[in-house]
Amino acid sequence: MAELSPAVRRGAVRLPTPAWFQAYGVYAAVAVLVLFNAVFTDHFLTGANLRTQLVQVAPVVIVALGMALVIGTEGVDLSVGSVMALAAALLPLYLGYGLLSALLMALAAGAVVGAVNGTLVAVVGLQPIVATLALFVGGRGLALVLADGQLKQIANPGLLGLGTDDVLGVPVVVLIAGVLALLVAGVVHRTTFGRRLVAIGGNRAAAGLAGLPVKRVLIGVYVVCGVLAALAGVLATARLTASDPSTLGTLMELSAITAVVVGGTPLTGGSVRVLGTVCGALLMQLLRATLVKHDLPDSTAQMAQAVIILVAVYVARERRSR
């Protein structure tokens, strides 16, 4: 495993440093959990189980990818869960015009929310927490208004297919999440947009004086985050086979932020770790699954999650203080 190599190469048994933990801890933790389950949990390494785990984590991964970009700019987007609900509420309204238009409407809603968030942050100059708090509150309300507070069954086979179909034995949802992760990684590391995003997160004033289109990039980042959240809302709806704006995506902002932070992206911006974010989401999913499989209650899972978040941030703090 790549994450073990630094210690091995040194040829000495040394305690890993906090910096090492921030960089590789999440991979090591995922590996440890997988190994643990492979040995101690019945039916863990079965296709069916792995499939379930991946399908469950996919929407979180998709939202967390957008969140990672936002956090990379020293921001945060609390409205992602509400955007998921908004997307879910729009789907049944437009399915009558065809699947494509319904999908487009849902994603467009995400883009609009993102644009509003981005404008409030970049142009008006509000703190990201406040700016996105407004749409966190208002977004779900709007979704409920649109859906008239109702849960609606979905019958469109194309949409349901997104939730249940496979391509080459891999569920579509998982495939989409995987492709998006690669895409976001490419954007972050290889495009001017990605590098600018990181520079703006690192030092916004300097980026502005260097002639970078700060406002445009910030708005873009929030739009991407909104669209990804809307897509996650669509996929989650497809899996549920029903549009449920009142509960879909609740606490998703916390799960996404957790995945990003546990994945080693600092909350202070200036760095985005895409693979880390994916593994962060995976870690939390595996943790919950492991505890459930071993008959430990949900309360334990939540407290364990709390501890992991704290450890992840503590480790990041050590690194920064140097």
């Binding site: 290889r190 495009t191 001017t192 947009f193 590098r195 600018r196 990181v198 520079a199 690192g202 030092n203 004033a205 300097a206 980026a207 502005g208 004086l209 260097a210 002639g211 970078l212 289109p213 200036g270 760095s271 140097r322």
Partner: protein, 538 residues
């Protein structure tokens, strides 16, 4: 080296004592290391009662660390701090304060959002019988205290609404009012105007008379010689010299700070600038009537290829603002900037950069570097669109550019992938210069390019400015170091109160002439720069 004198048996008490006054605050054999650096190595310092003691050294010499050890911010690894002869261990700044050692820091000292009075009495507010804060009394006492420092501002206003100099005075008032026996001042005049410096010196004189000791950190030699009794010189975390300031002349002091021979310093001069340049006649950048309410008032200037134009003025005169306006980073009420015959439209840094105008901002950390990114990424930050295709960055092209500039500017880093935040100030500044030079600008605006960097890098940057002008670049140089301005610039535009107060060309570019324009009273209506009568010294 020079060991601190042992305190004599029976010192005559009283303020006006010479070298025999008893030691108040002592650092004995202090050692302090941080991960990867030895900040202080066996440094000792003795501060006597009522003396004004200068602490000097280059950046990285360990001045700040020593102050922080003396005032309880850091704990020494070895050695001890003694107060009135007794060893003390300050665990935090409040411990030092309670013991009568207070500090006025260069930047952070007070809370801008809180009122002046609240700042002064923070942590020791006067109470009424109910144990609640007595605001009327607090305001009365604050106003009375400040009046002694020549400050008449409303003590109920937020501190942030005051000018930098006034804020510094408030910090000083606070420090003195906490019954300090020792006041440590870290670069107290760096943000002050001459008038405020005078007030500060008067206050320091009062402290001296009252038997309060002052540890005075500054690299402005004139100030040291004016007010300080003794001096301690640090270099690379070690003690180089302690003694009476009167026994050293300026060249000796500078030589000690730099660790060079006096003759060598003399021979090279103190800046890295060479001869004057011979600019083209045609201006590449023309600014006319730059105006912004309260900030700039009808500033017009021209920059010609191949010349270094110095922009002089005191703090708050609009120097940095003018540079920012030229670079599109300051919204204007009126006025226009024309570059190479093309007028810039809606001002933005991006538009200015496209037109060939680059600004090296004054505050390197806050507005320049992106500390968490590599040297490579910092250099190509502004040039990214040119080094990429269809929004995808080309690593190969970046590497070529970065290699060229790291070599040309002699950027000392472990490699292009080292984080900029880990470099020294001088190298960070060079990275920023590289960022702009790789855009091949026509006009380079340098706002305090050598502030806060070590002497070696300073000379290199100055030489580079020279070289760039030789190559035909138009350079605007802003510096609060008069010597640097006079030696570096071919022509000087002097600003006062956001307006152009005068221009010095040719023979008239000299320290004396500049000081006269700077110190002149605001011109009456109608008198222009041409009316300034400039006398020569000899």
């Amino acid at each position: 080296m020079a060991p601190p004198d042992a305190a004599p048996a029976a010192p005559p008490p009283g303020p006006d004592e010479g070298p025999t006054a008893p030691a108040v605050l002592e650092a004995v054999g202090i050692g302090k290391r941080f991960p990867g650096v030895v900040a202080l190595d066996d440094v000792s310092l003795t501060l006597r009662r009522g003396e004004i003691h200068a602490l000097v050294g280059e950046n990285g010499a360990g001045k700040s660390t020593l102050i922080k050890v003396l005032t309880g911010v850091h704990r020494p690894d070895t050695g001890e701090v003694r107060l009135d002869g007794r060893p003390v261990a300050f665990a935090r700044p409040s411990d030092a304060q309670h013991a009568g050692v207070t500090t006025i820091y260069q930047e952070v000292n007070l809370v801008p959002l809180m009122s002046v009075a609240r700042n002064i009495f923070l942590g020791r507010e006067p109470r009424n019988r109910l144990g609640l804060i007595d605001f009327p009394r607090m305001h009365r006492e604050a106003a009375a205290l400040l009046a002694g420092f020549g400050v008449t501002a409303d003590v109920r206003h937020p501190l942030g609404s005051l000018g930098v100099g006034t804020r510094q005075m408030v910090a000083l008032a606070r420090a003195v009012s906490v019954r300090a026996g020792v006041v440590v001042m870290d670069e107290p005049t760096s943000a002050l105007e001459p008038r405020e410096v005078e007030t500060l010196f008067r206050v320091i004189g009062d402290l001296h008379d009252r038997g309060i000791s002052v540890l005075y950190v500054s690299h402005r030699l004139e100030e040291l010689y004016r007010i300080c009794d003794r001096v301690t010189v640090l270099r690379d975390g070690r003690l180089v010299h302690t003694g009476d300031l009167a026994d050293l002349d300026r060249m000796q002091l500078v030589a000690m700070m730099l660790g060079r021979e006096v003759s060598e310093v003399r021979r090279h001069g103190r800046t890295g600038f060479g001869e004057d340049h011979h600019p083209d006649r045609e201006a590449v950048l023309t600014a006319s009537g730059l105006t912004r309410r309260h900030v700039l008032d009808d500033v017009s200037l021209e920059l010609r290829p191949g010349e270094v134009l110095g922009l002089a003025g005191l703090l708050g005169s609009g120097r940095s603002e003018t540079a920012k306006a030229l670079a599109g980073a300051l919204p204007l009420d009126s006025g226009s900037v024309t570059v190479a015959g093309r007028r810039l439209g809606r001002p933005s840094p991006a538009a200015a950069i496209r037109a060939g105008v680059s600004l090296l901002p004054e505050d390197r950390k806050a507005e320049g570097i992106v500390a968490g990114l590599s040297v490579r990424e910092n250099i190509v930050l502004a040039a990214m669109p040119r080094l990429s295709r269809a929004g995808v960055v080309s690593r190969a092209r970046q590497d070529r550019v970065v290699q060229v500039f790291m070599k040309r500017l002699r950027i000392k880093a472990s490699g292009p992938e080292q984080k900029v935040g880990e470099l020294s100030g001088g190298n960070q500044q060079k990275v920023l210069l590289a960022r702009w030079l790789c855009l091949e600008p026509k006009v380079l605006l340098l706002d305090e390019p050598t502030r806060g960097i070590d002497v070696g890098a300073k000379a290199e940057v100055q030489a580079l400015v020279d070289e760039l002008a030789q190559e035909g670049l138009a350079v605007l140089l802003i510096s609060s170091d008069i010597e640097e301005l006079v030696e570096g610039a071919d022509r000087l535009v002097v600003l006062r109160g956001g307006a152009v107060a005068g221009e010095l060309t040719g023979e008239r570019v000299g320290e004396g002439e500049l000081l006269e324009v700077l110190a002149a009273h605001a011109p009456a209506a109608g008198s222009g720069p041409d009316d300034e009568e400039v006398r020569h010294d000899g």
